[in-house]
Subunit: 150 residues, 2 copies
Amino acid sequence: MTESPSPLRQTRRSLPIALLRAREVVMGPIREMLAASGVNEQKWRVLRVLQEQGPLELSQVAEAACLLLSSLTRMVRPMEEEGLIARHTPPEDRRKTVIRITEAGEALIHRHAAESAAIFARIEAEFGAARLEALLDLLESLQKIDPRPR
Amino acid sequence: MTESPSPLRQTRRSLPIALLRAREVVMGPIREMLAASGVNEQKWRVLRVLQEQGPLELSQVAEAACLLLSSLTRMVRPMEEEGLIARHTPPEDRRKTVIRITEAGEALIHRHAAESAAIFARIEAEFGAARLEALLDLLESLQKIDPRPR
DNA sequence: CTCCGATACTTGCTTTGTTAAGTATTTTGC
DNA sequence: GCAAAATACTTAACAAAGCAAGTATCGGAG
């Protein structure tokens, strides 16, 4: 096989693909852990946001949990029925919906707190705390750029 | 607002969220660009893989483009009908399906090559070439770890 | 007070992600 | 050879992502 494919073989490293794969590595074990409780990654993110930041409007939750508002809307009813969150409409602006985490929701988070911490500890140990910090710094500042040409 | 929410406000930086947001920053403009041609991000990834690596078996494409095989299977027929790729079954192993990019597919890539390059050039310029390299290195080595506890 | 544009969600529709099962071909072990 | 295991997809079914369009409030200009 002389293997000199006509395509230019640019094989430049791809940032989009690297981000996808990294996400898989990190979230795979988390998803696995959550499967036992019947919550998925998105519900987990919503609960974490509510637990860390207190009651929020749907738009704020969507922003913080990296979800589209429409996706969140569809998650809210099931999560309320499962007793994980509670919602109310503030009388001063009835367009809004504010949700908060319930005790059952907090309990669910605490049930997984140890394992979740173990997963991230493992990542930190395998990867190195310093490199993890560096990665987070880079990712954070990447978010600040405006990639639109012109 | 005294703002001292009862939840512990751990506000630890979250690797999963950071990866999600970074992906949005990078892929947002690409998706926008592709919308005009009626191809989505996944088809774009498949075409790029084929263009860079030449004809491949479905499994190999799925691996390279970060898709599940079942997702790829579903995309292949429409992409073939749109004339972007061609498929054939190698006689020496008729379980396999090999796909390659067509001229129309290459044309589509070339139509967007300039804009795509501009987007990544913009990212590189805003973010810094050295930091981009560092980020890619970190992401690449993150993929190599095994995050399962124990 | 009333109409108009902006907000904050909601819904509908299509495509994808994910899992699990199913089908068609090889390959292997006796 | 030949049944059993492995490989390489396919299909089915259902939750979730994304996008566009629709609904209910609100805030303001006249």
